[in-house]
């Protein structure tokens, strides 16, 4: 019996219409996913964002203009001056190769698209594919409607958008798609026991290895899944076929990426996959033997076999560890288990803000209502617990942990949250949208054993009340039997439980729709306000609400490009290395590829020491210009003074005798830039460069730093060894030129004092100031 009379169609019409609607819905979802990522382009312009993308963009330009072989052999002498960098062997080339291929295809079709636009729009484009891959994977878990929900969730969830807005040209842009498609194909391979899908999973795994360092997540997730299935006693030859094909082909394939090299057979991160592979071989072998012999003899043989293989395996591990063939875990990996590890031993990892532990509000901000539906979806997975559900449960547990440890790993949690939430919501909608109604207890009269009223799930209190006046006696009688049959009832066919009446359905469905609308509003708001800033161009609001674009970075980089010789070496903190190389096209000392800690510490030392100590370092490294970021004037908090302590810490790691962190604090342990600032702080090159001539802006009244909210000393710092070369409009970027040795052989301090005494009369400084502040 049904609550609503539905118009009837022939089954073929229904299936055709359903599949057409699904295709349309998927296309619409892909469109929504792509267009919601275009805020950055609409609000600002088609520009590459942040820091790492600038390097990827620069590498892609090389690939597009000079071809793949040149790109592969590219040695970049301008990075890490004077060391240089072998780019081809130290990157994951998947991203650049992808956009290179797209660029070439478009040009072969005579569509003269600029390589920058390919790069800017790559991430939104791949987010559409991610939505499709998530749909396919969720379809395997439940059904198509859950798949569509998962697709729209992943399409607009801020947790994924944060890394894939237009212009955010980073490895994650394609990696999440590869993650989902690899998992989907793995599930298919496992379900069918297909070598074809296993091999395809390996091919996509290879693509993933070529694209993102996070491939280790797949390297450990799939073995973990296989291992858990083994522990659950679910060995099957399907598992053997799928896993073996994936591992054997995938491992060999992953070693083709030069940056990965022999790691898959040498480092501990990859050993779990190898161990599970070996275990599967043993179990498959034992299974085959068992099929041939009687069980008693099998036990005898099994005992011998276990002893022999145990001894052999133990000896092999001991031997490999002694000979150091297997490398120990790397620091980045330790920091996943011990969140304090990085801070103690590898400050350079801890100094990156995206490696910090996640704050609780971030989960709500990035996932909104999905984070509440997520546990429900995982529990629903337990209800069915097929192989693919086991996978989602493991994925959920692992990703939740990692997302709690590191902010950036929120990215790997988002897909599983979307899938689980879609399963939960789709189950809810299935239940409440179905027009089937369970048989009313009074209508079948005699049939008391079925007692359907008592089996109604607890949330249907409304319908219970309505029904009570009719069947109060029957319900009371059935109440105690309900307790015993409640668990069984869930698995019974639908007639025994369900929802009564239209009103209950309406209440729940309207609520669900309300939540979905709120989710969309939240996602749009977060995307447009928080995640679409290119951070190369800043935006602020004027008092009247109109937008004010702060373009200091590009102004300064363009100045460098126009006013300095091509080979002028620019020193800056490593955050800005890629941008200087990409936008100003000048050699840099250090950049965001933080492979050489000592070199970074050298820059840290130069920044945190006094001028006299820094000058020889600067000269030895041929530094011509120093670029710093200063936000004190307009209150830009991501400036170098706020990062300064990390420079000190990293320098201290290499020169513990010369640089000491406590010296940079006031005696009371505060980090201050005002009168109470410590001597080391006031004398440090960074402090001097930041506040040089700062108080002139305030025409007599004490200068005020709007980031630290502190008043600066009346007397501004003096510079002897370097001189100001350029300061951008809002003082965000300041560039200093390092003076050459004095031609008369004096040291620069006395030379400067001499000049200062003599050249008081000509008004050169004031004219320059006018030029600067104008």
């Amino acid at each position: 019996m049904t609550v609503l009379k539905l118009p009837t169609f022939s089954p073929s019409t229904l299936t055709n219409a359903a599949s057409l609607l699904r295709i349309l819905a998927l296309a619409a979802i892909a469109g929504a996913a792509i267009s919601s990522r275009l805020f950055a382009v609409v609000n600002f312009e088609s520009i590459i964002h942040e820091f790492d993308p600038w390097f990827n963009y620069r590498a892609t330009r090389v690939l597009a203009s000079q071809g793949f072989t040149e790109f592969w052999n590219w040695f970049d002498p301008t990075a890490w001056y004077p060391l240089g960098r072998v780019v081809g062997g130290t990157i994951y080339p998947g991203l650049m190769a992808t956009s290179g291929v797209i660029y070439n295809i478009l040009h072969a079709l005579h569509l003269p698209v600029d390589i920058r636009n390919v790069c800017v729009l790559l991430a939104p484009g791949f987010s559409g594919l991610t939505a499709w891959a998530t749909y396919m994977l969720t379809k395997e878990l439940k059904d198509e409607s859950a798949g569509l929900l998962a697709a729209i969730f992943i399409g607009i969830a801020p947790g994924y958008i944060s890394r894939s807005v237009a212009g955010s040209y980073d490895n994650e842009a394609i990696a999440i798609f590869l993650l989902m498609i690899t998992f989907y194909i793995w599930i298919r391979a496992l379900k069918d026991g297909s070598v074809l899908y296993g091999t395809l999973a390996a091919v996509f795994y290879y693509y993933m290895v070529a694209a993102w360092g996070g491939y280790a997540f797949i390297t450990n997730m799939i073995p973990l899944h296989a291992f858990v299935l083994l522990l659950m006693g679910r060995f099957s030859h399907r598992l053997y076929s799928a896993y073996s094909a994936w591992y054997a082909v995938g491992t060999l394939a992953s070693m083709q990426v030069p940056f990965v090299g022999f790691q898959p057979v040498q480092t501990s991160e990859h050993m779990a996959a190898l161990g599970v592979f070996g275990l599967l071989q043993l179990i498959a072998f034992v299974e085959i033997v068992r099929s041939y012999v009687a069980s008693k003899q099998f036990q005898v043989m099994l005992r011998w076999f276990l002893v022999a293989s145990g001894i052999a395996g133990g000896l092999a591990i001991v031997g490999l560890t002694i000979t150091k063939t297997i490398a120990p875990w790397t620091g980045r990996f330790y920091s996943l288990w011990d969140t304090g590890y990085a801070k103690k031993y590898i400050p350079i990892i801890a100094s990156v803000s995206e490696h910090q532990p996640t704050a609780w509000p971030a989960f709500f901000m990035d996932l909104h209502m999905l984070i509440f539906l997520f546990p429900a979806g995982v529990i629903l997975c337990f209800k069915e617990l097929r192989e693919e559900h086991v996978f989602v449960i493991i994925y959920a547990v692992m990703a939740s942990y990692f997302a709690g440890v590191m902010v950036r790993l929120m990215l790997t949690l988002t897909p599983v949250v979307c899938m689980a939430a879609a399963i939960a919501l789709s189950s809810l909608l299935d239940t409440y949208l179905s027009v089937e109604e369970p048989a009313r207890p009074d209508s079948n009269g005699v049939d008391e054993t079925s007692a359907p009223g008592a089996d109604v799930p607890a949330e249907v209190t409304v319908s219970k009340k309505k029904k009570k006046d009719v069947a109060a006696a029957a319900a009371a009688a059935a109440a105690h039997s309900a307790a015993t049959t409640a668990t069984k009832a869930k698995t019974k066919p639908s007639a025994t439980y369900g929802i009564f009446g239209l009103d209950t359905r309406l209440v729940v469905i309207v609520n669900a729709i309300f939540m979905l609308v709120m989710f969309v509003l939240h996602c749009t708001w977060v995307t447009s306000s928080a995640y679409s800033s290119p951070s190369v161009v800043l935006a602020s609001r004027r008092p009247d609400g109109s937008q004010n674009i702060i373009d200091d970075f590009r102004e300064a980089y363009y100045w460098l490009r126009q006013n300095t010789p091509q080979d002028a070496v620019v020193m800056s903190w490593w955050d800005y290395g890629y941008q200087i190389a990409g936008m100003a096209d000048r050699p840099t000392l250090v950049d965001n590829n933080t492979w050489n800690n000592t070199h970074i510490a050298t820059v840290g030392k130069a920044m945190s020491s006094s001028e006299e100590v820094s000058y020889p370092i600067l000269r030895k490294h041929d530094v011509d210009y120093i670029l710093i970021i200063f936000g004190g004037l307009i209150g830009y908090s991501g400036d170098d003074i706020n990062k300064f302590l990390w420079m000190v810490r990293i320098a201290q790691g290499v020169w513990p005798d010369e640089i000491k962190e406590p010296n940079y604090f006031t005696p009371r342990g505060e980090y201050k830039v005002d009168d109470q600032a410590s001597e080391a702080m006031k004398n440090s090159l960074m402090y001097k460069m930041s506040y040089y001539r700062f108080n002139e802006l305030f025409s007599g009244s004490p200068a005020f730093d709007r980031v630290r909210n502190q008043q600066l000393p009346r007397e501004g710092p003096k510079l002897d060894y370097i001189e100001e070369a350029f300061t951008s409009e809002n003082w965000i970027v300041r560039i200093y030129e390092v003076k050459k040795e004095d031609p008369l052989g004096r040291d620069l301090k006395t030379a400067n004092a001499f000049d200062g005494g003599k050249k008081r009369k000509p008004s050169k400084p004031t004219s320059r100031r006018r030029a600067l502040t104008a």
């Binding site: 296993g198 082909v249 033997v289």
Partner: protein, 126 residues
């Protein structure tokens, strides 16, 4: 697969139980295995021997072109597991586990997997 070789070395110390069990195993294998599966097993045995030879060479003499060793050894291992999966998919005793894979499909899968595998092997030989 040809099982007896692995255990027989450690079985020297005691029991006739193990030797008789092994004899039964060999007997049962001879009787209950289709001829085609035996051919696959012979191929598997060959791959094992070639893999062992490479490993011994690597361990005793040199692993110098390590990529070449990995490519060769990976080829052995990969081909072994692909063939073993193929064996499981066509063997009447285990075929029931694969619901949608017919023996013909299994052979096509096997070929596809082997081609992809050897594409990477060839690329890695150096």
């Amino acid at each position: 697969m040809a099982p007896p070789k692995k255990v027989s070395t450690t079985a020297s110390s005691s029991t006739s139980a193990i030797t008789s069990a092994l004899q039964d195993l060999v007997q049962s294998y001879k009787e209950n295995t289709p001829k085609r599966v035996k051919i696959i097993d012979a191929f598997l045995l060959f791959i094992v021997l070639s893999g062992v030879a490479q490993f011994v060479y690597c361990a005793l003499i040199t692993n110098y072109p390590f990529n070449a060793f990995l490519a060769g050894f990976g080829s052995s291992i990969g081909q072994f597991v692909l063939t073993a999966a193929f064996r499981a998919q066509v063997n009447p005793a285990t075929r029931s586990q694969f619901t949608i894979i017919s023996p013909e499909r299994a052979f096509a899968d096997f070929c596809f997997g082997s081609i992809v595998l050897h594409f990477f092997v060839y690329n890695f030989l150096g």
